[in-house]
């Protein structure tokens, strides 16, 4: 892995093993959400004068579905974070990679959330909130117990390093 996006200090942690199928399923459902209505619409309205149109739409939809599913799987496998002494590093992305560093002293709150798909797989996501809305520091797909443990550690670190502003 690229050392720019995965500096070799500290123990990099990954998402829970179940996060990859959960992410893939989420991506697949997201694709089906538009692909199925598009297929039905072309079937109903365009079939008579463009008989091949529904099959093109369906084919594109299926290809996209497969692609998104694989990418979702790989995205979750590529995700990593490390709790360092004074900040949290999060690396993510396949094509467009990013590495975010959030000092514990800048954390305002830590959220643990769990959507319906995530709950089904027993997962939860941890989000760090800073004063900036640009900060996108969300760790999706941790085991629920790991997530609360991480939240508690982050809060403790934040309190210990919070600076009297």
């Amino acid at each position: 892995m690229d050392t720019l996006f995965r500096p070799p200090d500290g123990a990099w942690q990954r998402l829970a093993p179940r996060a990859a199928p959960a992410r893939a399923l989420g991506a697949a459902l997201g694709t089906l959400l538009w692909a199925v209505p598009a297929f039905v619409a072309t079937w109903l309205f365009a079939r008579t004068w463009l008989p091949w149109a529904p099959w093109v739409v369906g084919g594109v939809g299926l290809a996209w579905l497969a692609w998104r599913t694989i990418r979702g799987w790989r995205w979750a496998r590529a995700f990593g974070f490390v709790e360092r002494e004074s900040d949290l590093l999060i690396t993510s992305g396949l094509w467009s990679r990013s590495l975010v560093a959030i000092p514990y002293s800048r954390m305002q709150s830590v959220q643990v959330r769990s959507g319906p798909i995530e709950r089904f797989w027993g997962l939860a996501r941890v989000s760090l909130v800073t004063a900036s809305i640009e900060t996108s520091a969300t760790i999706p797909g941790l085991e629920a117990t790991t997530a609360t443990g991480l939240r508690n550690r982050l809060i403790e670190a934040g309190e210990a390093q919070a600076l009297a502003l």
Binding site: P7, S86, S98, S105, E134
Partner: protein, 557 residues
């Protein structure tokens, strides 16, 4: 001039404020309505004489402890509000009849028109009178409270520490009568407004509230000598002028700005198209809106920033500007998240720069003041010396120009063909600096203490070119501060260093030099260079600065 009024604490006051308003010691006898508490509230019988004479108030002889002295805005308030409505109406109607090339606009009968306008103005004045009648405010040692509303009574009590900034705004009509509106920014959302007050009273209240916001519980008020202040600038003897921009410079800057050429270019394109398609008179008709757009643009740039003055006094930094509407805006250094200096093509020849501020709660960067009277322009147009004077006032403990900037590698010419030669970035323990842009060059400066998180990004193309983008996230959402086209090879080590600097050490906060209380610093000329180590400042006598006003406030950020 405000009308004194004694109000039983039980009426219209929340119970907790009634409780607060019962101090053990008897309250002093104020001599008039324009009284402010001085250092010892309990002991001094009469604070200061009111700046404007007011009728004697014999009923104050023996004040029961449960009553508080409340004030009303100036009695001329309804008149001015009616006048402003009338003016808006006249301008709105007048605009209908300015020929705009379409030749419509039928006049209703004149009597009907005048009568209608008069009726609206009278109604506005009456509404203004009623709202004035029911508006009261209290500013004393204990609380800042504004009671408003006729049907729905509102009692807003503002904690002194929450006051972020205070603006004194004088619309044109109010200036005739030496009145002003006080806008109290309490961070986020609506700001509390008091309109209209006597000018002296408004300045006095501003200074008092800013002192209280700094945590000075016993702030002595300084009587504002209106005679010494100019009608155009809101400057006083104690003020130390840091930067002033003349209207000539503003005019020059406006006609050489890239926005001006944008309007001209758009107009020329439209006329060319009209001539090409042989639209005849329509092409002439296009010149009218083009002309009015240009005049409007220049007028906005010049009148909005007229007599721009950045000054410093004990209560903090202040910017006053405006021709038709004089605005005096207090500038809280600790809330400034990022600064952008920009320079358009022709300004490079003239050596002019502009500074924009990203401040929490100020909304997006804009060219004019928004509905809340907030203006994000720190310096409309100024020389390099003025830029450094302004930034030295904002950040006394650091100079961003000391930072060695890294130019972008040759490979950056692919994703940024035009701006690559100008792309640079750098940081030290106090600032993150990035410069980019082509036609309009921009320098973005973020104090490390304001950085919330750092992000490195690399897309597929950048990866082939071994480049990356570095973004620093701040709470000022108006500016996306980022360095583009950064060489990825040394970035690995640089990033570790940058993350190290983020661990905010108080002595590295650029808006407050470390050290203990001392006399305010003598007027600062733009400082050519500063000590490289922040500790060098501890030895300077000037340690404690006036513009730390917002220190305690910023805890609410």
């Amino acid at each position: 001039m405000s009308e004194p009024h004694r109000e039983p604490a039980a009426a219209g006051v929340p119970p907790e404020s009634a409780a607060v308003s019962t101090p053990p010691e008897p309250q002093p006898t104020p001599t008039g309505p324009d009284f402010l508490p001085t250092a010892d509230w309990g002991a001094s019988p009469a604070p200061e004489p009111p700046p404007i004479p007011s009728p004697p108030a014999p009923e104050f002889a023996e004040p029961p402890a449960t009553e508080k002295l409340t004030e009303r805005p100036h009695p001329l308030t309804p008149l001015i509000r009616g006048w402003i409505v009338l003016l808006a109406l006249l301008i709105g109607i007048g605009r209908e009849f300015i020929p705009n090339g379409q030749g419509e606009g039928e006049l209703p009968p004149l009597g009907f028109l005048v009568g209608g306008i008069a009726a609206v103005a009278v109604i506005a004045a009456a509404a203004g009178f009623i709202s004035w009648r029911f508006t009261r405010f209290v500013v004393d040692d204990e609380e800042l409270r504004i009671d408003t509303g006729v049907l729905v009574r509102t009692s807003q009590r503002i904690a002194f520490e929450r006051v972020q900034a205070i603006d004194v705004v004088q619309p044109f009509a109010a200036r005739f009568f030496q009145l002003a509106e006080l806008r109290i920014d309490i961070g986020g959302g609506e700001s509390a407004r008091l309109r209209y007050l006597g000018l002296a009273r408004a300045y006095e209240l501003r200074d008092y509230l800013l002192a209280r916001a700094r945590g000075h519980r016993h702030a002595a008020t300084v009587a504002v000598d209106l005679a010494a202040s100019s009608v155009l600038t809101d400057l006083h003897e104690q003020d130390e002028v840091l930067v002033q921009v003349s209207p000539v410079t503003l005019l020059l800057a406006a006609v050489t700005s890239h926005e001006f050429f944008g309007i001209v270019g758009g107009g020329i394109a439209a006329v060319t198209i009209a001539v090409y398609f042989d639209l005849g008179w329509a092409s002439l008709g296009l010149l009218v809106p083009l002309g009015s757009a240009l005049i409007g643009f220049i007028a906005q740039r010049v009148t909005g920033q007229f007599n721009y003055t950045l000054s410093r006094r004990s209560a903090g930094l202040r910017i006053s500007r405006g021709l038709t509407s004089l605005t005096s805006q207090s500038l809280p250094p600790r809330r400034v998240q990022a600064v952008q200096i920009s320079q358009s093509l022709l300004w490079r020849r003239l050596g002019l720069y502009r500074i924009d501020l990203a401040v929490v709660g100020w909304g997006p960067l804009s060219d004019d003041e928004d509905a809340r009277g907030v203006n994000t322009i720190m310096l409309p147009a100024g020389t390099a010396a003025q830029v450094s004077a302004a930034l030295a006032a904002l950040w006394p403990a650091g100079d961003y120009r000391e930072i060695a900037l890294t130019p972008a590698p040759r490979a950056a010419r692919w994703p940024h063909p035009l701006s690559a030669p100008f792309l640079r970035w750098g940081f030290d323990d106090r600032f993150f600096v990035s410069q980019h842009g082509w036609l309009v060059r921009r320098w973005q400066i973020v104090p490390q203490a304001r950085v919330q998180s750092v992000e490195v990004r690399q897309g597929p193309i950048s990866r082939r070119l071994n480049l990356a983008d570095v973004a620093v996230h701040t709470a000022g959402l108006q500016l996306a501060t980022r360095a583009k086209g950064v060489d990825a090879d040394p970035l690995r080590a640089q990033l570790a260093q940058l993350q190290e600097h983020l661990h905010h050490k108080p002595e590295h906060d650029v808006s407050e030099p470390p050290g203990e209380a001392g006399p305010p610093q003598p007027p600062t000329a733009p400082q050519p260079a500063l000590e490289p180590d922040p500790q060098g400042y501890a030895g300077q006598p000037a340690a404690r600065r006036a513009d730390q006003a917002e220190e305690t406030i910023s805890s609410t950020e």
